[in-house]
Symmetry: C2
Subunit: 483 residues, 2 copies
């Protein structure tokens, strides 16, 4: 049987941590004096109280956490902190509808960045800060989840990136989970701080710099401005954010080595090279297409827009400096394809991820080789080491299921009365944790026009996309609940 | 080294066979007296001559045919008969452009049915008959290819359907290839004849009945009427054609058993049951959607249109009785999804095929089971027998590569200046050997508006789609040509 008590106990701890961060947003509110400090404190208090209650009731339980408990904690964890995380929005009245507030919050914690707000700037500083902090916390959760927890659970080939499992593991950070988490979070904080400083130096107000740094590192994409990064008419700021989006899409264990100046370990990493190559190729293609479409625009601006939008979509951040739907059709399609790439495994980005894209491509090519030499053993190699066939099957199953979920999602959304582009885009952008899509969820639109049913459905897609599908879907199988 | 001489020798034989059938079209032309009899004879003569030349030059060669020769014969075979098969169209001047004539012919031999003609009825009876016969011959080729040749070559999990390979083979028809081919062709001819009689009985003119039966059994979809089956305002005719499209989408080795009244063998077949279930589910969904969209239309007509279009798209035939692009968005999306299904393996239909769709779905579900019981061996079962893991990997690789080719194809077509819908539709409909797609290649349009480059590219997609991708793609690998 699943040990539900320990699940409740750990959810209690998660709520207390969430409450602590929520309380941090209150002084910000107080400092700017534009309201919502009390509401934030109240929300934090209610969250902490609920957390302590769970803790108090269940702290004597059997603490053994198996795989099943693991899946349940991860999924329920994201749901429960989203429920409580939405309190400041509902209590303050900034987002009166519970559905909307929940959508906005789970979109934050899953680092998606799909918003129902059509006037972000009307929010108080406290709420804006909390909204960005949600994404930053979500990013922290994802790093530990993808580099420490999921490899143990064995989800969709994530073993590949584990420090625990033998085989082509990237780089053994530190055997102990706690230490690993601490170091990764240290890296996360240092890079966030670096971005704050560089943005501030580029004359972005400190408040905006902090918020955007939070949501860049999380590849979340919430902005304090309705126009997103297009608000800042500064090439410097746009290049800085492009750079940090790209950094946030790198496996954080590589960034750890980068900070320790072990640069050769990074360049030897095949996924890293593939990741940069994809960014370069897509940026080049889109630059050429847009330069041909808008010949009067300066080439620097065209390149900058292409680089920014490619980095933003590929890392699943979702910031925008330009309404890319105005670009020529093939450029839009290239971005739509990128929505299925994602950044590196072990980063905060969502979607399928480069490692899996690489494995699919390599395995496809090797399938041809295997046809000619049917008796030879032709393994897929990553970083020069053969990948076990079971992992290839895991990865291929993940990719096909990802596409199936997308297809079913598109059908469901179209049944709700949305047009083809919007359906294709909204599902790709929520399942992939990107935010803006195509059609009526393009970068100049928001998700406010969906029905409540649509918002709950898209929230579900954000959740399963964020948690690598199987973590959530496994809860719906009868054998999960059997002895 | 690849034995190119035996390849040329066999291509010679293929050309002589093609010429014999081409010569059959000449008397039809003569009988109706509307021209092109001489042109058909001349084309047949030139084709036969080329065939005999190849035969004469190479008939003393080493006759050993290995795997590599197999791949080369299959791919070049389809190309060479399409080149010569287009002669009647160019020599008669009915299709003056060589590109157009080749497109029309390879679209026929691959049983796609994508046409560049915008006035089919202006063709002479002889040419119309040849055009339908091309599809019927293509269908004959595909049955033998998919049930006899590809299983030996081991393409994309086709071993599953082989009568030769141990494992979950469907039903051992007859050990010897020649006998198997003969029996399958017998079934093909008998069913074609049955359709001719039933259509004729329904007051379709005999000429039309023969042509439509040819192109139904091939799941090709060429019609003698520009309006396709919508021309015949007869519920009887439309139901008859729906029925035979569904039959043509069944594994022909099952139809062989059906004709021998071994019905229990058919119902025991899991792919068959899944195939019928998918048709039922999609027909029901679309009937409901369209009934809600067009409440004044009789429910029988709505159901008939839904059944016809679902059968046509799913079996990759491509006949139409209604411009389905006028349907509500989710119904159009359902058809777009169906374009990736295809009929059963071992039928004349193209696309991914039900067996592979089933394996992907089953494996996805089992992946969840494997997460909970990581040490248990949980094989995918088809017809109650476990499928070997290598075959699952083959199938998953096929499906992912199929989707990759589609995505790259869509990008290429959009680069040529086509809109998103047309690009998505044209590539899905040619790669899947369907014919009509969505956008400007919908059932009321044709492919005449593509540039020559576009037509050659789409021809290539029809070819690789028809030959299960890897058969063609393997020729582009360096290791194919190495010793």
């Amino acid at each position: 049987m699943v040990n539900l008590k320990v699940v409740a106990f750990i959810l209690g701890i998660l709520l207390v941590i969430t409450a602590a961060f929520m309380a941090l947003a209150a002084p910000v509110s107080f400092f700017y004096g534009d309201g919502d400090a009390t509401e934030l404190f109240l929300s934090a208090f209610l969250t902490a109280l609920s957390g302590f209650l769970l803790w108090a009731i269940f702290h004597n339980c059997n603490k053994s956490v198996g795989k099943r408990e693991g899946y349940l904690i991860v999924t329920l964890g994201w749901i429960v902190i989203s429920l409580f995380g939405s309190l400041p929005f509902t209590i303050s009245g900034a987002i009166p509808s519970f559905t909307d507030a929940f959508f906005e919050t789970i979109s934050g914690f899953t680092t998606t960045g799909a918003s129902i707000l059509h006037d972000v700037e009307s929010l108080s500083h406290g709420l804006l800060f909390w909204r960005s902090l949600i994404q930053w916390l979500g990013g922290m959760g994802i790093i530990v989840l993808s580099l420490v927890i999921l490899p143990i659970l064995g989800i969709g080939g994530m073993q590949l990136f584990s420090a625990e499992v033998p085989g082509p593991t990237p780089d053994k950070l530190h055997p102990r989970i706690k230490e690993t988490a601490k170091r990764l979070w240290g890296v996360y904080c240092i890079i966030t701080l670096a971005e704050v400083i560089l943005l501030w130096a580029g004359k972005m107000p400190l408040f905006d710099a902090v918020n955007h740094s939070f949501t860049t590192l999380a590849t979340g994409g919430y902005s304090t401005k309705q126009a997103s990064i297009a608000y800042y008419d500064s090439a410097y700021i746009q290049y800085v954010i492009s750079f940090f989006m790209i950094v946030a899409g790198i496996n954080f264990s590589l960034s750890y080595f980068a900070l320790r100046l072990k640069l050769n370990r990074i360049w030897r990493n095949e996924e890293f090279r593939a990741y940069l190559s994809f960014i370069a190729i897509f940026t080049l293609l889109i630059t050429l297409l847009v330069a041909w479409q808008l010949p009067s625009q300066s080439l620097e601006k065209t390149f900058r827009d292409a680089l920014f939008q490619v980095s933003s979509i590929m890392t699943t951040t979702g910031f925008a400096t330009f309404d890319y739907l105005l670009w020529t059709t093939p450029a839009v399609l290239l971005l739509l394809v990128l929505m299925f790439f994602g950044g590196s495994a072990g980063s905060t980005s969502g979607s399928i991820k480069i490692m899996r894209v690489m494995l699919v491509l390599k395995n496809g090519l090797l399938e041809l080789k295997r046809l000619i030499h049917p008796n030879a053993i032709v393994p897929v190699r990553i970083d020069r080491e053969g990948v076990k066939p079971e992992i290839i099957t895991n990865v291929l199953a993940f990719v096909t299921v990802y596409i199936l979920v997308w297809v079913v999602g598109v059908l469901v959304i179209s049944f709700m009365g949305h047009d083809i582009h919007t359906s294709l885009g909204a599902v790709a952008a929520t399942l992939g944790n990107i935010g803006p899509g195509i059609g009526k969820v393009g970068p100049m639109y928001n998700y406010g026009h969906f029905s409540d049913a649509g918002k709950w459905f898209l929230s579900f897609l954000m959740l399963i996309g964020r948690l690598e599908l199987f973590t959530v879907l496994v809860l719906f199988t009868p054998s999960f609940w059997k002895k």
